[in-house]
Amino acid sequence: MMTNAMALAGVVVREMYRRKDFYVLLILTVIITLAMGSVNFFNDDKIVRYLKELCLLLIWISTLVMAISMAARQLPMERESRTIFPLLAKPISRGEVILGKFLGCWFACGLALLVFYVFFSVLTGVREHDLPVLSYFQAIWLHWMMLGIVTAMVILGSLIFAAPSSNATISFVVSAGILLLGRHLNKVALQMSEPSSTILYTIYYNIPHLEIFDVRDLIVHNQPPIEWGWWALATPYAAVYIAIFLFAACWIFKRKSLSA
């Protein structure tokens, strides 16, 4: 099963580094960060946290955009260019196709993340003369896990929504909404009356809490690394949601009639 999925993942990764999207996002991030870094605030060249915050924000936006747009176009593009037919005419199951597409997008995001964080590390290393490797490793890992959940969710979305653009837009709004508000839904639910309160609690307990994986503040404010036990626990938390989304995607895809 993994051989087929990995073969397909290889195609997706190749697509990522041969398309211009990644380079455009990387160059934009670098240019904006360097431009902001060159701004003179009170003749003080030791100021660095705002730059870290800005750079991390750009990295988060770029990788989220990349993950969503890449995952959203995978299956629709296979249909549109008709490559799904010669592919499925080979000894590969639909589940393997879903898994391969997911792994490809996720690995591609991982590669992109590495490049982005290398730039971030160089930037902070030069300005702060410090490189908290463990904290950065934790941050990259959690970021990657978060992108895994988003990628799986978008792949499922590509089987539900007709157009990749609507899937991408909805996924982006949902992801950004969870990142910004997910943590606070329980507090809002507390102040609401029934049945709104129960509805909101149901949403709160069922959504993947992407904000858990966002540890930018810890990095910006030079906080010590997260306790390793809790950090490790975030991985199975992400894996559960990835599995839910992928199983749902496989279930729908297996039942989908494909007409050549």
Partner: protein, 290 residues
């Protein structure tokens, strides 16, 4: 030239003619509606005040190393307020044992975790209240600068930034420049003048300039704040206290006495000021005896 080329040329001529006709009216309208000022003002309109408040709060959250309440958290930690002085902001200090004084009574805006998700997620964001120190306060300055760009009418932004610049960051020259920028946007504002006087007196040790600035601040207070029903007397109290102490230390006891007497009327604890008045009077008497 072929027909499509001629059509494009004709359309360009029409567009050019129209823009030359419309442009003067558009400029006049922009000036009339007050939109001819800055790029930020033009793009953001009145929303810039809201953004400025948010960015100012961002600067404040940096002061607390990212430990900061959101709009969903019931209690406020220390959101910056209009009219709050630079000293109020600098109140986030540590005692001689390095313990954070501000922690007392304002630590737990988070409260107890409401559920397992809340409890789990707290391992992934800042839940400890610490403050920037030893010059690290510089980290909040870009946000203050940006907030001032957004809304130059917010005086607090200038005074807070100037306080840190002239104290822990050690950049009084930059503090003076920033306050002057504030004064250009808010001419003769007494709070800005008070802070500028502090730069002259405490950092440059220039008594004459500090006196001039504080006297102007006092005068402006009476002109601007005095007639108001809810006049900011605390500000006047601070200006007068500064002036009185400076004059006392400079040996200008007559001037000091005038200001201490005024301060006595303003202070909520006049008996403390009485002691200063008595001391100053003694100095004047001693001078006269000589």
């Amino acid at each position: 030239m072929k027909r499509p080329g001629l059509i494009i040329f004709a359309l360009l001529v029409i567009a050019f003619s129209l823009i030359t006709a419309i442009s003067p009216h558009q400029l006049a309208w922009a000036e009339q509606s007050g939109r001819g000022q800055s790029l930020v003002a033009r793009f953001m309109g009145d929303s810039r005040e809201m953004f400025a408040n948010q960015i100012f709060a961002k600067g404040d959250s940096y002061m607390h190393s990212g430990y900061y309440p959101t709009i969903f958290d019931g209690k406020k930690l220390h959101a910056p307020k209009a009219g709050e002085s630079a000293e109020d902001h600098s109140a986030h200090k540590h005692d001689e044992n390095g313990r954070c004084l501000a922690d007392e009574g304002e630590t737990d805006f988070l409260g107890k975790p409401l559920d397992w998700i809340d409890s789990f997620s707290r391992h992934f964001f800042i839940t400890k209240h610490t403050h920037l120190e030893n010059g690290q306060e510089r980290e909040m300055l870009p946000w203050l600068k940006l907030a001032a760009e957004m809304d130059p009418s917010q005086v607090d932004i200038y005074t807070v930034a100037a306080f840190w610049l002239r104290t822990t960051v050690g950049k009084p020259k930059e503090a003076e420049e920033f306050l002057r920028e504030g004064l250009r946007n808010n001419p003769n504002h007494p709070e800005l003048l008070l802070e500028l006087g502090k730069v002259y007196y405490e950092n440059f040790h220039d008594v004459d300039r500090a006196r001039n600035v504080w006297e102007l601040a006092k005068m402006r207070w009476y002109k601007v704040e005095g007639p108001k029903e809810d006049a900011d007397t605390l500000l006047l109290e601070q200006i007068v206290a500064r002036l009185a102490d400076m004059e006392y230390k400079a040996g200008n006891y007559q001037n000091a006495l005038v200001n201490y007497k005024l301060l006595r009327q303003l202070s909520p604890v006049p008996q403390v000021i009485d002691e200063h008045v008595r001391k100053t009077q003694e100095m004047i008497d001693a001078q006269e005896k000589k």
